[in-house]
Structure formats: structure tokens, C-alpha cells
Subunit: 325 residues, 2 copies
DNA sequence: TGTTTTTCAGAAATCGTTTCATGAATTTTT
DNA sequence: AAAAATTCATGAAACGATTTCTGAAAAACA
């Protein structure tokens, strides 16, 4: 027996097609008609066909979400929050993990277009991404142009905050570590904020920024260069992500340096893996829920043209075991 | 200017509608016609409308994936791998995070049905889930019935392996810890395997299994009960997940017990957060890629009826810093 | 060259909805 | 009580593709 259609429901209920459509879509209809249709739907176990619906009315309640992967805790949490915000508005999520593959990512944009999604939320590092023509797009952490809204946390402020906290806790010589020298995106401003705070406070600092392809050992080498008689030149290190911070902490342990006594470390992201039990590395916490909610608000809103071209959401400091305060 | 349709392409190319359809779907057509259509598509920047296509031919190349959340590293990695396997077969993924909410999860099944997905991959703990009528479904870690294929890792074998490894490393009194006493799913067999190995080896063991709602502190209490003169009754602990293992490790540290000298700990899952740098807790590693690939293979295959009702994939032991070997 | 196949583009029907024009039934107005 | 206005279910047309059928042109055969 084939799946029942609206026509079947109409026949079963003894009403016209249009009436069934109205009931299904919550458009007011005479009481007795409504009841009859509802009963018929129940009896036939009818379920609307989204493809027919999507074809006729162009609203699909589908949003495409594109992120590099779900392995990174930050991306995973972000997608999790986006999903929750979308569900609250009755939207569904088409998820694409790009694996940092620009070509595939571009393909996904086309796919999203032909899938007739109502909007795209995209976290992309692709400098040459061709944006879709008729689909509203909100970007995370990456500024495209003035008419493409970008949502990110206050990376500049976060960089400042990290430097300020380190100095506040007694550090007098700071280092900033980052992978990915060529990326042009919002998280880059973490460095700018860090530098600006160091200069305002008159504290010396060193930047070590390596290319994407470079192996992690470049940081080890860097640290060893600055190690004299078992003492590191720096007493405070700001790592651009928690992930990097964790690796650095391992390296510092291997170098037999005590954290936070000899050197204090701050990371960035603040996504905890196993609940708060594991509050280990001090970090600048990104407001992931707010970022997700803001993206969803914007992308599902009618007039995206009037949206701001950049929204920066406030970050907070979370003390872990790697700083004195 | 509205989006171009196949009709527009046909007019532009000076051919009939059906011809365009054939070219788009790779059905052989006269050389010169094909070229003209391809050029017209390029010129108009035409993109096929999946909703019209999905309506007419019922294949949609959409698979719904349902997991509790993306916060848990295991789920996140699983979805990541599923996404990759799907992409390789030109399928798209509709993702639903259920948050362990049975009602919402049921709603998602209905949504998936009406979204006309070609299949569903589902990791559910809902004992009363009503399965969709006409949509193939593959379950992960949860056996529904003989005609619903279930894919999981070899949980029983993993439980055995954990016990065997602990004993091999000198443990003579083991404990098994788990949250979620009432769940009936494949991961429960971790306990069975553990028990069976203990008995085969003639090693005494204790099980501590607490309810879902119970606070974590129940485990702390349990451990303290078994602490006499700074010495724990157990010298080997098998935790049902890495997540639990990490919490237990924190507790053991608070109790001033040394790991692995005083007590050895093994977890389960083996999904690493920051690459292999953080290989901290010894664990039984689930073959996440294989689980994902198997699910995708099955759900996209034509005759799901002939599929096995249970597929168990082999696990491996990964030594971390919490065991002696 | 005349007849039979074969090939392949074009026309038309169809998928399951939404929406709009239509007109019957009801209510309001005078 | 008759005319005008309002309400609201009805049913056809449209959305943009696929697919079957049709028939003209080309190829094969005698």
C-alpha cells in the first residue's frame, strides 16, 4: 500500500484538497471540517511530503551548517548549540564537514543551494569561497564583506584579557603562540589584542607564529631556544587555542618546568570535555551558545540585509590550574 | 531574476526539456546536444532543484543521523566519520541531536520520514522508540529486533580485554564502575565480558553500577568505603567510559592514591581530544571509523532485509599512563 | 531504391503539495 | 423580507523535475 497523500486524506474525510492543506498548516477552518480531517489523518497515519511542499512553497525549514570537522571540541560544541537553537525554531540542519578541503567546501555551497536550504551558517577558512547567489549566509569567525554578516567572539578583547590576566598574576615576560600564519580571520585579532595590552602595560613580549603545515616540534624548538639553565625566558604564555595549550603543557612538563610556578599558561576556547571536573588549563572562554543563537537568529530572520556586518560577543576568563589567579 | 529552471535551459540551448534532463543525469544523448545543453547550463548558472527531483523520483540522497549530542567526544567523532563515509557516496546528512529526550527523538523519526530521507542511522537509548514504517534504519549500540540491523563494537570482548590487561599487569582485585543501571544496550556487555574474564582468571571483583540520575559522588563514596589506612581494596579499576575514567582519576588524585602504582585504571572509547599527545588514560579503543563505514554501507545498500541483525567490530587496547603495561 | 529497424529528440503525464479564483451558503444591512 | 456583503470550502492550476510514449530522421538490410 503506497503512502497516503493529501488527496487520500481528503477523500477519507470527505472534504476538498485545499481544506486538508489548511488543516495541516494550521490555517483556520470550520470546526467540524478540522475535526474530520484530523481524524482522517490519524486513521491513515498520513505524513506530509516535504519534497512536494518544498517544491511548491519555497520555504524548506532547512539550514545548511558547514564546519571543518567535529573532532575539534569547539566545532563540535558549536554545532551542538546551533542544532539546539535551530530545533527551537523548528528548523532542521543539513551538516557538512569540510575537512579544510576548499574544493569540497565549494561543492557543499552548491549542494546547499540546490537543496534549496533557507540559509547557510558557515565556518570557513577558504579565502576564495564563492558565496551562493540567492541564499542568506552567516559566517562565523571569518569576515567576507560588508553585506555578509559575521559572528565571532570578541577575539581582540580576549587577547587583551589574556595578557592582562597574566600580568596581573605576576608575569613580566610574555609569549604568544599560534599555528596558521596566513589565515585572515577574526581569531587573528587575538594576537592584536594581546600585543596591544602588552604595550599598554609596558611588558615585553615575543610572538611565535608558525605556518599551517609546520610540525608542532617548531614550538618545542622555540621553547628550548629560550631555555637557559633550566629557566625559561618567559613566565607567561598565551596559546591561541586550548588544543595548542594542552600540547604546550605536555612539552613544558617534559622540560621539567613547573606550571604555574615557573610559567603560567592561558589558552583560548573554553570548551570542556568531561564537564567541569576537568577544569585544567586556564582559558579565555568563547560564548559558544550565544554565537550559535546569534547565527541562527540572523539566518532565519527575514531581512538579513539590515543585519550588522560584524557581531562580536563578549568572552570571559576561566581560571584553571595553569595560572596563579 | 528568478532562478533558472530546466525549461529555461532547454530554451537557451534550443532543445527539449527531456534532453536537458538526460544531460543532467548523465544519460547518453547526441554529442552536439550534450554540448549545447552543458553550455547553456554554464551560461545560466543553472542548478537542479532537489525538491522537484525528490518529488518525482523518490531517491533523495539524504540520510538522517540521530545521536544524543555532539558534546561527547565519542558521538562527535562518530558523526564526523559518518559524514565522511556519506560524502564519499554522494549522500548528504540531516543531523538531529536528541539530548536524550525520548519525545523529541520520536518527533525526529517522524520528521525524517516526512523529509523522505533514504535512510536513518540512529544511536538511541529510548526503549519505546517507534520505528519508521518505510525507511531503512540502522542502529548503533542498541539492538531493537532481528530485522533492524545493529552495529556496535565488540563490547563483550572489550570488557574481557580490560580485565585481562589489568590482571596481566599484576592486578589481583578488580572493580567495574558504570552509570546507567537500567539501559538495555550493547555497551552493557562490557560488564558481562569483564565478569566472565575475572571468573575465568579466578580474580575477585566488585561491581558498582549506579542509576542515571545518581550524582557522581556515589562513586566517591564507594571508593572511600573501600579505603583502609590509605590503601584501596582494589588495585585495578575498569570504567565503562573514558569520561567516567577521567572523573575517577581526579577522585583518586584527591584521595592521594598513585596511578598506576597503587591502582591501575582502564577506560573505554579511545577517542582522543587533542591528537595523540594526550594519550593519558589507558583504554579500550572502539573502531569508530569502521562502525561509521559499516552503518553507511548498510543503510545505503538496497536490500537491508538480508543484512545481519548484529555486527560487532573488534576493539583494541591502547596503553596510556594509567596502567603499567 | 524501397522497406524495416534503430536511434533519439520532443510532447505530455505525473509526483504531492500550495494558492488563487470561484461560487454557494450564511450573515448583515436597510 | 429582499439586497448586499461576507465567509469559506472547493477544485483547478502551478511548482520543476522525471519518464513514458510518440514519431521523425537516420541507419541497416535486401
Amino acid at each position: 500500500m503506497p503512502k497516503p497523500t493529501m488527496k487520500d486524506v481528503a477523500r477519507e474525510a470527505g472534504v476538498a484538497l485545499g481544506t486538508v492543506s489548511k488543516v495541516v498548516n494550521g490555517i483556520p477552518v470550520g470546526e467540524e471540517y478540522r475535526v474530520r480531517v484530523e481524524e482522517a489523518i490519524e486513521r491513515l497515519n498520513y505524513r506530509i511530503n516535504s519534497y512536494a511542499k518544498g517544491l511548491r512553497s519555497s520555504k524548506t525549514y532547512l539550514i545548511a551548517v558547514m564546519v571543518p570537522n567535529l573532532i575539534s571540541p569547539f566545532f563540535a560544541k558549536l554545532v551542538n548549540c546551533i542544532n539546539r537553537s535551530l530545533a527551537a525554531r523548528k528548523y532542521r540542519m543539513l551538516l557538512f564537514a569540510t575537512d579544510y578541503d576548499n574544493e569540497q567546501e565549494q561543492e557543499y555551497v552548491y549542494l546547499a543551494e540546490q537543496q534549496k536550504v533557507d540559509g547557510i551558517i558557515c565556518l570557513s577558512y577558504n579565502p576564495n569561497l564563492i558565496l551562493p547567489a540567492g541564499v542568506p549566509l552567516v559566517s562565523i569567525d571569518r569576515y567576507f564583506s560588508t553585506n555578509v554578516p559575521c559572528v565571532s567572539s570578541d577575539n581582540y578583547g580576549g587577547g587583551r584579557l589574556a595578557a592582562e590576566k597574566l600580568v596581573e598574576n605576576g608575569c613580566r615576560n610574555l609569549a604568544f603562540l599560534r599555528i596558521g600564519s596566513k589565515l585572515v580571520n577574526e581569531p587573528n585579532k587575538r594576537k592584536d589584542g594581546f600585543v596591544s595590552a602588552c604595550e599598554a602595560l609596558g611588558v615585553p613580549y615575543t610572538l611565535k607564529i608558525i605556518d599551517d603545515g609546520t610540525p608542532y616540534s617548531a614550538f618545542e624548538d622555540f621553547l628550548r631556544e629560550h631555555l637557559h639553565d633550566g629557566k625559561l625566558d618567559f613566565d607567561g604564555i598565551f596559546c591561541v587555542t586550548d588544543s595548542l595549550a594542552h600540547q604546550i603543557l605536555n612539552t613544558l612538563r617534559d622540560m621539567e618546568l613547573r606550571v604555574p610556578e615557573d610559567v603560567q599558561v592561558i589558552g583560548f576556547d573554553g570548551v570542556r570535555r568531561f564537564g567541569d571536573m576537568e577544569l585544567y588549563c586556564s582559558t579565555i572562554v568563547q560564548p559558544v551558545e550565544d554565537i550559535a543563537a546569534t547565527c541562527v537568529d540572523m539566518v532565519t530572520e527575514k531581512d538579513l540585509d539590515k543585519a550588522p556586518s560584524l557581531v562580536c560577543l563578549p568572552v570571559t576568563y576561566a581560571q584553571g590550574g595553569t595560572t596563579k589567579g
